[in-house]
């Protein structure tokens, strides 16, 4: 699904040049649930932004579903992103002025989905993330966990092939975190490819593959062998 070949991304600051991604090669297959670990500043968010085409690469080749991304125009990238990718952020990034329902509906609106269809799908995902009872509320009135569930609902409503999550549990307590992780795992089982940045090593267990970065390079890349069943993990999290 995704192939990165020798890509680099650096930022030129006032004095120093920071190499956020350093000649990295990586391929991600359809159906994987990839967790990215690493110390702060090692380039995790940058990598995720690159994958989501929110950021450009300086060097290397980036293939996404047979498209050579580094050769795409801004508009083509926007189109790929719109069709295939959903985003989940650490700070939720919900729009304050819109209700839960409207927030979730927004991507469908931009996809020109007809109104009836929009309604139907919003209802489905609302139930799915278990937030239907709060559909008329403004985000500010919800708890962090609830807000993140709304954000997930918004990310998956277009049924994207790829979901990118940057520390989705970073602002949540462990109980809410577990809930979010289970939701992601469930999505993955239903066929979505997921790439998630996390600071919590225990969350790796929900995924199928783990990537550890250091200074813009891949330090470790391995399959998660003994994926913990969801029920058991909840116990661990609580205990």
């Amino acid at each position: 699904m995704i192939t990165l070949n020798n890509i680099s991304r650096s930022f030129i600051g006032d004095e120093v040049e920071t190499v956020a991604i350093d000649k990295m090669s990586l391929s991600i297959n359809k159906g994987e649930f990839l967790s990215i670990l690493g110390p702060s500043g090692c380039g995790k968010s940058t990598l995720l932004n690159v994958l989501g085409m929110l950021d450009n690469i300086d060097q290397g080749e980036f293939t996404f579903l047979a498209h050579r991304v580094e050769q795409c125009s801004e508009n083509q990238c926007a189109k790929l992103r719109k069709q295939h990718i959903g985003f989940i952020f650490q700070n939720f990034n919900l729009i304050d002025e819109l209700t839960v329902e409207q927030n979730i509906e927004l991507p469908l609106y931009y996809h020109n989905v007809p109104k009836e269809e929009r309604k139907k799908r919003v209802n489905e995902v609302l139930k799915r993330v278990d937030i239907a009872h709060r559909r008329k509320h403004l985000p500010a009135k919800l708890s962090g966990g609830q807000q993140q569930r709304v954000a997930i609902a918004r990310a998956i409503i277009t049924q994207p092939a790829l979901v990118l999550a940057d520390e989705p549990t970073g602002n949540l307590d462990s109980k809410n975190s577990a809930q979010v992780m289970e939701l992601l795992q469930e999505l993955n089982k239903e066929g979505s490819t997921i790439v998630m940045v996390t600071h919590a090593p225990e969350h790796v267990q929900y995924g199928t593959r783990v990537l550890e970065l250091l200074d813009g390079k891949i330090l470790r890349d391995e399959k998660v062998e003994n994926a913990v069943p969801s029920a058991k993990l909840t116990e661990v999290a609580c205990g």
Binding site: S45, G52, L54, D55, R81, F89, N91, N93, P107, R154
Partner: protein
Amino acid sequence: MVNLLLIVAWRNFWRDKTTSFIQLSGLVIGLACFILIQLYVDNQKSYNSQFTDAQNIYRINLIRDESKPQAQTPLKLSQELTSNFQQIDDATRVASNGISVKHSQNIYAERGLFVDKNYFSFFDFELLEGDIHTALNAPDSLVLHEDMAIKYFSRSTGVLGNRLTINGKEHQITAVIKKNNTPHTMPLTLILPIESYFSLLPSEAWQTRWNYNATVTFAKIANKSSIENLTRAVSDYYDERAKGSSSFKTNRVVIEPLLNIYLNNVTTYSLIPPGSAVMVTVFDIVALMILLLACVNFTNLSTAAAMRRGKDVGVRKALGASKHQLITQYLLEAILLTSAATVISLLVVELFLPSFNILMNTEINLAYSSSLGLQLISLTLFVAIAAGSYPAFYLSNLSPAHVLKGLVSTSKTGNLLRQGLIILQFGIAAFLLVSSLIVNWQMQFVKDMPQGFDRENVVVVNRGADIYNSFKTQLARHPDVISTTMSHTVPTKPTRTSNIVRPVNDISSEIWVGSNPVSYDFFQTFGIKLLSGRDFSKTYTNDIYVENENDWQASTGKLIINQSLATSLGWSPEEALDQMVTMGGAGGDGLHNHQIIAVVEDSHYINAKNAISPMIYLLSGQPRDLSLRWTSIRLKAGASLQTVKELEQVWLGLDGNLTFKYDWLSDLFSASYRNENQQTELLNIFTFLAIMVTSIGLFGLAAFNTQQRVKEIAIRKILGASTSQLCFMLVNQFSRLVLLANIIALPIAYWLMRDWLNGFIYRIDMPYSAFILSGIFSLIIAYITVMVIAYRAATAKPVDSLSCE
């Protein structure tokens, strides 16, 4: 402490450069406009205030029947006033007439003021040289204005005793008036004793005629409370004597303060063209509006910026700053910014004063004085407090807990206020836009409408009655001359004499008509079309108009009338032909009948703001018979200045002492619209500035609003919003406000413009397209302004906006 306040203010100014500069530029435009217009208004209101006795001096105007008051009065009025009315301390006469000045073989046409000996005791001009008490004593004395001295002698001093030949008689210079910039209503020209004027009159009897109005009369009246009674007494006195000597039924006077006469543009025949009180008021209002717009910008942007400064307030309050201290801080910032704006606007005013003076035909300069300083300081303080107090109180009232949580941004009242102010601004802009569109269209309409004469290629020369016949004969041989004529008045100039026309079968009904005595070829020369009948012709000797005062019935002469008169008499142009009408019967004249031989189209005398009145044209056998005053020549299209030079040669060949003072008829036409053109142009400039200030404000607010929403924009973009969708969303929030502003402002504009248009006799229908255009135009302005910002925000990389969290 103050030091610290200043430092903080300075830092705040630079911290948010865009907002500060937008606030500053809005204020600069607003203040500069205001100062400039205030200078203009002061200038217009200060006419004649330089004269020591200005408070006690009055001009005597006549009102005869329903006509407009006129400043021309009988020559003997001043004498009668001083000897018969004890409330009148003194009186003086100022008659104005064209003169020819001969100096070293050249002849110049000038306007001369013929005045009484006590002229300078009324109008105490400063003299460069000469004695103000004796300057006018000698019958051949001559007082020059500095400009005239320079014109004739290339110097302004040392000209005493020099001679100029005026109307063929030598005069000796006895004084030179110093030029100054304080405005007054006395023409800056040559001043002669009034005795010289008497020699221009046909006979001595004219000096004492009650129906010959030739001079402006000024009177000194110290006792203000007596004015009302005096007006009545003088009116009765005058009416008693003037009655019966003219066609007018009532004769009244108005005693008008000297300080008011400049802005009174109702009275005719004043010495210099008057200003307009209405215009001054309109300017005052517009200046205030623009200043208001600038204040609104300031308030709007300050409260918007307050959100960003909310944290600052919270922290300060948490650290123990009192509300009072915060208010001081923010007001001080407003005062500093406004002061800077005042200083810059003074520079702007200096920069634009020369062009403004040219446009408005004024000589205003910025005289720095302590009173100006005081005015500027009050203006600065006023604007700073008007614009800065809401933000100051608003900011200082914020609760720190809310601010620190970042809740300021959702303040409903702040938002409403800002939206209200945007509506106010766009309302004013839309109002001005519609008004100036309609004013421009109406003015264009008036200028383009058929005038009833062809103004191109006609040269009009002042006087020439004595040489007219030879002049005409010689010109007939000139290849570029189509025709030559002479007349009492010409289109673009008022008709001076009136007559009464009555239907023969109903002589009790009177129609007041303007009367224009003309020579042959008048209609051809001015391109006035005959609707029926024939032109005056030499083949019919009876065409010539002669009143027989011994036997009124035996008066002869044919009439050509204009269409309005035909209509008033109830005839079509064809029906009017060969009809008889009765004339005379006013002021002791007998009745006499005349036959109509032609009806011509209506022509505008003065300009199209005045209704065309019924007119008769009489044929003057010789130019002197009916005192013809203007020689007019129609040239072939494309005739050059050289042709005019050749005409002048012919003219001077016939009388070397008579200046060839000419104007193109088309120039006279344009000149009669000069005031309107000035007003229109100024209105256009103001409208432009108002729109500019409004867009500056909108730009600032849009920038701010968009900045508030960068994160939202980024999220939407990631969710798939296109650039155009985002731009539309950002622009849309303002277009609603702009539309609302239009909805509020346009009915007001409609209502006012309807009244304004109703003031015109010849007018366009209310142009509804102006309202649509204004709506569309203000939307476009708002779109462009906001789009600049929206586009930048919508095309920004979403990561950048999100990562700043």
